[in-house]
Amino acid sequence: MGKGQGYRGLRLASLALALVFLVSAVAGCGQKQEGGGQASNTIKVGINFELTGNAATYGSHCRDGILLAIEEINKSGGVLNKQLEPKVLDNASKQDESTNVATKLATEEKVKALLGPATTGCTLGAAPVATENKIPLITTAATAPSVTVDDNGKVRDFVFRVCFIDPPQAIMGARFAYNDLKVKKAAIYYDTGNDYSKGLYQNFKDEFTKLGGQIVAEEGFSSTDEDFRPTLTKFKQNGAELIYIPAYYNQVGKIVSQARELKIDVPMLGADGWDSPDLVKIAGAQALNHTYFTNHYSSADPSSKVQEFIKAYKAKYGSEPDAFAALGYDAAYLLKAAIEKANSDDPVAIKDALAQIKDFEGVTGKLTFDDKHNPMKEISIIELKDGKQSLVKKVMYTE
């Protein structure tokens, strides 16, 4: 017994470990087989997104939007008579992996432009690579101001974004709560591990108190929290008339439905992180009544550009596009517009053309870059009614 048994044990243990590595390796490889195509007469576009990890839905929806746009562009003859060739890689929602992926796309694949990532952290990981290799990068949804402007206050030449930045949406949210919903006492519940959430929290608080409102409670949760009932009970006892929840939809869904269960019927307000078809599935349509959020676009927007995009997206993927898909779609068309404007697929020329883009008509609104590469565009305020989005109004941010 003894010895043979021991060896067998060891063998099995190593087998188990080997299997674990195998699975993670396979998980990593799967993404790399997309793309392909001929080497010549194409423009390679690097697509670096959160396809796995905790921001996976945002990243994969952005990618879906981009791939839809590229398919349409190629079908209609491409750009400068060349086909766009997407190279999709996964950054696993990790900042360092995003740097690796961007480097790989820039140096090995020699792409002409980088699209993505979707989140602030991962984009900050990829931005230095874009600068170093002189390749333009368009992020779809990284909303922190520091993405396009570095720590010294200098604009990052090669980094652009199609989404608006955080402060305006939090400020417009606070104004909407105070002026339109007539709320005087608000509670804030934010994600402490998330720069996006913290930024919105601070801006909302400042604007709301400046207007004359009162923050009766502010609490943070961590991204692994699942049970929000104790804190919500506390908010109720503090007399909050509105709860501001600047967080991602999977947490928002749970918070909202747990609050409604506890008979907390006050309106709730959030930001673009709320936008996902899954929000209704998690929270339930009933629970979401009387909730609002600020967003890049609304699928309820009757404009023909929006409705055509929704139709095409549904035909390709079988589901309703959220704002991330729309931002991805816009990013790809923005790149096309820049290449055409530059009349060249040289990365530096594309960058220069991007900086001069004016009145680009996207699904998420009309876009003109300011001198910090931030688009100036309208913010949609959306209300959820029986699980359906309805557009309350579109507002232009003013100081």
């Binding site: 299997l19 674990v20 943070g220 804190t231 409604r260 269960e261 929270a283």
Partner: protein
């Protein structure tokens, strides 16, 4: 009144922890193995429950039974493949294997089930019963509490009043002596895994309901918390696991209510450190010398 409301919040979470902690404690009691894969078996249970409800359209009790059955099979298979061959190896080897199994299940889950959060269909009406003085208990909380208590009573019965329960206690007390008395140690250990995993299946469905979502990594945190609960209660002791689970749930709710929700996890682990310093065998643990 606020305090009572928070107590209700804590009790329902605590009862789920207790069910999970039972699985840890039974397996530890019998082969001194901390089964790190336990949390991931919960995840599998939650997904089986999810598919039973969302795809097959089953109601709560059949879904629960299916999740229990699936987890039982999974638990026994894991035990046979990963732990049984190592029965006479150093404990560290088994522990490392347990971690390997856990990582394997998590990564396989991420691969097969994808990373999206899936909304758990709400088979229980999302409403609350109003008690006296503005106190509310949701149907979910009530269901979770009842299911948990039922499972505990059932488990106590199995362990104390059946032949196999007697065998389990004998094996945990002295494996060699039990073997000499004609007890099939292997079968008893397999049964313990089956029982613990069935409870993990229950916990999975309850967690899915309570958290409203499932995710391939959803088992990690509750698994860890329940492990802490088992240690606080005295690992290897069944009533200790229950007490530890309830205690932890209530502590979490109170810390979130009267302190801050960010202090929840630090307080839980601080509690663990304190208990280990003051009473290393846990609150209800027997003070027995370590077996060689």
């Amino acid at each position: 009144m606020d305090f009572l409301q928070q107590l209700i919040n804590g009790l329902s979470l605590g009862s789920i922890y207790a069910v999970i902690a039972l699985g840890y404690t039974m397996v530890y009691g019998i082969i001194q193995l901390i089964n790190f894969a336990h949390g991931d078996i919960i995840m599998v249970g939650a997904y089986v429950g999810f598919f039973a409800v969302a795809v097959l359209g089953w109601s709560f009790i059949p879904a629960l039974v299916l999740a229990m059955a699936a987890c039982t099979v999974l638990g026994v298979v894991i035990e046979r493949i990963a732990y049984k061959p190592l029965r006479n190896s150093p404990r560290l080897a088994v522990l490392i294997t347990a971690i390997g199994v856990s990582l394997f299940l998590e990564n396989l889950g991420l691969r097969v089930l994808k990373t999206d959060y899936r909304a758990f269909p709400q088979i229980i009406p999302r409403d609350a019963i109003s008690l006296f003085g503005g106190l509310t208990v949701t149907y979910q909380q009530l269901l979770i509490l009842i299911t948990t208590i039922l499972m505990m009573v059932l488990l106590q019965y199995v362990v104390h009043y059946t032949r196999i329960g007697k065998a389990m206690r004998a094996v945990s007390y002295d494996r060699e002596a039990a073997m000499l008395m004609g007890i099939s140690v292997d079968n008893t250990i397999s049964f313990t895994f089956a029982l613990g995993s069935a409870l993990a299946g229950v916990a999975g469905v309850l967690l899915g309901l309570y958290y409203q979502t499932c995710h391939p990594l959803m088992g990690i945190m509750p698994g860890l918390k329940a492990f802490v609960a088992a240690v606080i209660g005295g690992i290897g002791v069944i009533p200790g696991a229950m007490a530890g689970g309830f205690l932890l749930g209530i502590v979490e709710a109170l810390v979130a209510a009267y302190g801050s929700s960010q202090w929840r996890d630090p307080v839980v682990f601080l509690l663990l450190i304190l208990v280990l310093l003051v009473r290393p065998t846990g609150l209800m643990g027997r003070d027995v010398g370590e077996k060689a």
